[in-house]
Amino acid sequence: MKKLTIIFLWIFSLISAQVGPAKELHRNPPRAWALTNATIHASPGKTIVNGTVVMRNGMITSVGSDVKIPKQATIRDMEGKHIYAGFIESWLDVNTIKKDTSLQAHWNSNMRAYLKAADLFHPKDKELRDLRALGFTTAHITPKGGIFQGQSALVQLGKTPKVLSENIAQVIEFASSGWGSREYPTSLLGVIAFIRQGFYDATWYEKTGNILAKYPDGNEPIQKDRSLEALSSGKGKKQPFVFRTNNELYIDRSENIADEFDLTFWIRGNGYEYRRIDQMPASFMIVPLNFPGKPEVADPYQALQYTTEQLKHWDMAPDNVAKLVAAGFQVALTGSDLKNKKDFQKNLSRSINRGLNESDALAALTTNPAREFGQSKRLGKVAPGYIANLVIADNNYFSGESTVNAVWIDGNEYEIEPDPFVSIAGTWSLKERNNVWSLVLNKSAKGFSGEIKTENKSIKLNHVKVEQDRIAFSVKADTLLQKGVTRFQGTFTEKKAMGQSFYADGTSDNWSAVLETKKTPKKKKQKKEDPSNLDLVFPEGAYGLDEDVPNPKTILINDATVWTSGPKGILKEYDILIQDGKIKKIARNITLPRGNALVIDGAGKHVTPGLIDAHSHMAGESINEGFQNVTAEVRMRDVIDPNDVALYRGLAGGLTTINLLHGSANPIGGQNVVMKIRWGSFSDELIFKEAPQGIKFALGENVKRERPYGRYPESRMGVEQVIRDAFSSASDYKQSMDTHNKDVRLQRSAIPPRRDLELDALVEIMEGKRLVHSHSYRQDEILMLTRIAEDFGFTIGTFQHVLEGYKVAERLAEHGAGASTFSDWWAYKYEVVDAIPYNGTLMTNAGVTVSFNSDSDELARRMNLEAAKAVKYGGLDEAEALKLVTINPAKQLRIDKHVGSLEIGKDADFVIWSGHPLSTYSVCEQTWLDGKQYFSLEQDQYYRQRDAKVRNSIIQKILASPEDGEKAMRPKGRRGNRFDSCDALEAYLMEGEE
């Protein structure tokens, strides 16, 4: 039978192929079918009972309960069947090429926008069969590989896939080749810069092309680049750009890029969308229907390895689709991330249990993708004029208990699991010799099983074998039959059966049976699962906020010792009045203003400005883009991870502001971002908006170290040259930009200079708009960089680490650079062999603005104690010492107008300490930013109790849930950072994190 089907299908495919000569005689059977008596789910929400679908020549011609069936149509009785429009698999990756080696290739192999999935699709028969078995008749195929991956297409999943559209969308992935790779970009940082530069280049390429077409003479021809061409043409035609995302942060990053370049965009989702549903862009979402494996929590110690966020995700992920739909998103589904494709139907029915409406589920498989893919007039519905793509199921597809019997694609039938001639499942009354028993036959996914029942006994059937209407089985039943094993064989009709039984002694006899009922005693149904009853917090997991931080209008702190870090020094028994997030007054005995004020008793407490760390890598999902020696184009603001618990821990140590820096892998690294630790805020709101832009430089061992892929420079001499070279090319760039922008004639007829994000940043440095924060150790390199800066007319913002700064402090002061150093680190590498803990004091005394930094999530929690080391080593005055972590870093980051000291008009960023802030015995009790309390010992206790309860309840739920034999969830490991920030980690290991 199977063979027969295949031959049939082969014939069909020949018939439907319209081009090309006939191989033998023409075959022209009528391609007309009528499927009758079915439950037709014509479109989401519209069901026809006892309906008929008529198809002719690959198209649906009529649908309804009372339709005329054309004469030539073959009629199929579909009683009991459910018919749906063919499902659309909204994401199916196709393998791409390694590299474009043509003359029209982009310089970087990650740019391959010219590729078309339609040209790359070479499915194996089994892949197609597996897809059809789930009911998929059409797929959105997507090229995978590189960053700009190429254009997706829509194909019919018949034996010979037919392309419906070859330019659906441009696919983009934030794919880095990883640390140690031999091509830029190697990190998320670089990837985002590469995407942005790609779009700028596409615009430039188009403009240049137009000018060249108009003025072919006098302009030097440019290298042809078919990817840039594809990008600019796609952008011009408003073709959608679809971004592959790993989690909700990537959705935000996609949106930022789409906004910057005014793109029509879609999101290839990730399963984490439910976490930020309120803030998500209203774009079309293609959401994977795979759920996390079960955490292994039966061993209580093993359970400790799972983060709270992971445990919650297990419980909440199956709600994702339902929540998205409820929030009004246009959703399409994909099973492409499933390891076991058969889980698709199971997960779909789980989603429905969790609150997804069946008609919304159907829409997500049919009308939604059809509309977004521009096919709403011919795909997604069982309606006249639509392509004859159908799913035939023996039950409601979304019930979780249905089998797809067949799909129709282009009016051709593909059998999946056809019904047998006779359905033998049921309870039969069996007569064998003089005995009458019940014969119960069950059918499951694994096949048939059964039993023979007497009044008080039940005997299992062995070796049950069913083929269409024929059965064979054995029974070992000494008492009922004969000693030994008795074998049965027989054939069924709808209501009767007969056959022979063979006994252990070699004799045989006849048996017969009549149907009692088609029903078989149902197995225990799996309990319907409920939606998760957990609350979302942000960031998700432990210490996440369940509501916004309260924002009191007026706050009064009474009778505290106030370390102003300003001209007033240390004030004992003073009051601070805060209004609307700003410091209003600092005086003795401030009387309460009218109205409500939050009063904090500061008696015995010390209040300091919020601590500032001028060198941090916390909340950076990616730290180094180290492949090239200059990467001024990459930006830390693109890779902020607001989920990093290091932020919270920093707050618990009085830290309020950090300078998130690029790593030290290259002489000119990426752009930094200054952040306020507004824990519980998303990336954008963490950014310290008033802080000027900056950039990381690095000198010495980290940058000159030999790379496996070979990279200039490998000596301090080369480092100097790389930086000089960068600035001289930035000068040239600025020159050509200025010339072009001033001359209207040039603008009309000459090729414009190409906008270069890297050079833009360097020009900003020269213009004094971008502060340089340079990683440095030795005096020679410190001097060197001040000289380069002066040659190019700018001042270095800070030298970071600057452990030999004490040797050239007068030069630092003269140049005007700040020094952000470690309190007492040394001996970890050769270039710090002369590092001394007196560095801070010596530089301060020479007139340099000095800060102490952490460069470590751990140290960042006790910056006050770092400051205390300046008292110990070199005897700095205590108030001056505290300034090393308050006003001084604020000055270095040029944010001292807003933060860094407790003075009238400044942001109310402050810390309340249990005692002297430079004492090792003191504890940070409260941390405030903008007049809002972001940390307190009390609130911390609340989180602890809440989170312990949540963990416990999920663990109980996991233990109570049925064993499903699926692969367990992999724990997030020791640090429990949600992301494997391997770039960062590896960069730390290989480059040193300094």
């Binding site: 709270t308 015995y921 602890r944 494997d980």
Partner: protein, 438 residues
């Protein structure tokens, strides 16, 4: 006398030298008119007398014996020298420069290697460390499963033999990873493979003990028949005192399953163990208590082990052990050399988060000595104990406090170090430039 004191203190600041190891104590020294923090017996507002390297008397008033050098403390404080219970002092100079590392031998099973033979008494790190009052350090090999034997060193001496206080102090074992590490591009080993690797390591640890027992039995037989004859095996030979329970085995383990497994392993093989690390020790209080396992609690200032743990989990870990009545001391990290000078900060952090101040001080002096088994000689200020102590201008657990003078076995220590030297050198530069006026 005050002037003498001032001169002594100043001289070390003004004229740093290349830190010449001190000569043996030649005359009695009386430190008077200060606060003597004995650790074992409260604070005495008075004097301390020591001679020939040993403390002879502590009291409110002590009259100086003949020939005594008398130093007026003028209200300053005397403490027993801090003890770094685990460290790499002298075994590494610059960690990133591979050739200066001598703490890790090749291979998994190195019970025979001895730390003190690789101790560099001229390491620049040593003077900077004793400048903060750390006068004794247990130095620990680091690599593989069985790393080697540790040695207790005094932070002054011409040679490693001079500087050795006790050897061996114990055998060090890194307990295998018991958990499943998260996947990722850097570490892609499957959970199954990790389980397999763990099983192998655990089997190996048992196998080592069985072999060592067998070897020990063989070595004890007096007969020298052909059957008993055996070739010497340096590794197994060095295991004998440990399998016989004469010396403790230090197990480095932080995670709860490691701790649990290590304790049961010790019981199975009837050996004495000390737990090093102990981040999760608070989760296994009863087990540790029942089996009387001492804990060298490492890294008070460390980050929590798990994302959801209390931000101050490591800070308060020592207090939790103290409250549970478990014998413990505090160390910085067994991987530390250049940061051992911050040992008092670790103790102070524990005090800020619940450990009584006295206990915090004890945790890096007497408690450490007790666990290392050197409390008869050091760890507190008592008559008969070594005069290994220092003078400070305040509470040495406070960062702002400075150690003014140290004595190791009564020998007056050169308080200069590389950092002070460079400090003075560059102060001179700024004096020459007219930037520094003093």
């Amino acid at each position: 006398m005050k002037q003498l004191m001032a001169a002594i203190l100043l001289s070390t600041f003004l004229f740093p030298n290349n830190q010449i190891p001190a000569a043996p104590q030649k005359h009695p020294i009386l430190l008077k008119n200060g606060f003597i923090h004995t650790v074992s017996n409260g604070v005495v507002n008075g004097s301390i007398l020591f001679d020939k390297g040993k403390i002879t008397h502590i009291g409110e008033f002590i009259s100086p014996p003949d020939g005594a050098e008398v130093i007026d403390l003028d209200g300053k404080h005397v403490y027993p020298g801090f003890i770094a219970a685990v460290s790499r002092m002298g075994l590494v100079e610059i960690s990133a420069v591979d050739v200066t590392n001598d703490h890790s031998e090749r291979g998994d099973f190195n019970p025979n290697v001895r730390a003190n033979v690789a101790y560099n008494p001229d390491s620049e790190i040593i003077p900077t460390t004793r400048s903060n009052g750390v006068l004794i350090a247990n130095i620990v090999p680091a690599s593989g499963l069985v790393s080697g034997q540790a040695s207790i060193m005094m932070m002054d001496g011409w040679t490693w033999e001079n500087a050795t206080f006790a050897h061996p102090s114990g055998l060090h074992i890194n307990w295998p990873q018991m958990g499943i590490r998260a996947g990722g591009r850097r570490f892609s080993m499957s959970a199954e493979k990790q389980n397999e690797r763990r099983q192998k390591a655990l089997e190996k640890l048992d196998e080592i003990m069985k072999q060592s027992h067998a070897y020990a039995r063989l070595r004890q037989t007096n007969t020298r028949t052909a059957e008993d004859y055996h070739k010497e095996d340096l590794r197994l030979e060095s295991m004998i005192p440990y399998v016989q329970g004469n010396l403790p085995i230090y197990i480095h383990a932080n995670e709860v399953r490691q701790i649990e497994a290590a304790v049961h392993w010790a019981n199975r093989h009837d050996v004495k163990i000390v737990l090093v690390g102990g981040k999760d020790a608070w989760r296994t209080i009863d087990l540790l208590k029942k089996n009387k396992i001492p804990v060298i609690y490492e890294g008070v200032t460390a980050l929590p082990s798990r994302r959801y743990e209390d931000y101050d989990q490591a800070y308060k870990g020592a207090a939790l052990l103290y409250e549970a009545g478990i014998q413990f001391c505090i160390a910085s990290s067994s991987g530390d050399a250049s940061r051992v000078r911050n040992l008092p900060n670790h103790a102070a952090m524990a005090a800020a988060y619940g450990l009584p101040k006295d206990e915090a001080l004890r945790s890096i002096t007497l408690s450490a000595a007790e666990i290392l088994g050197i409390d008869p000689q050091v760890g507190s200020l008592e008559s008969g104990k070594d005069a290994t102590l220092f003078i400070a201008n305040g509470d040495p657990l406070e960062i702002r406090t400075n150690v003014l003078q140290a004595y190791i076995q009564g020998r007056k220590i050169d308080m200069g170090d590389r950092h002070k030297m460079l400090y003075h050198k560059y102060q001179e530069k700024y004096r020459q430039l007219g930037i520094l006026k003093e």
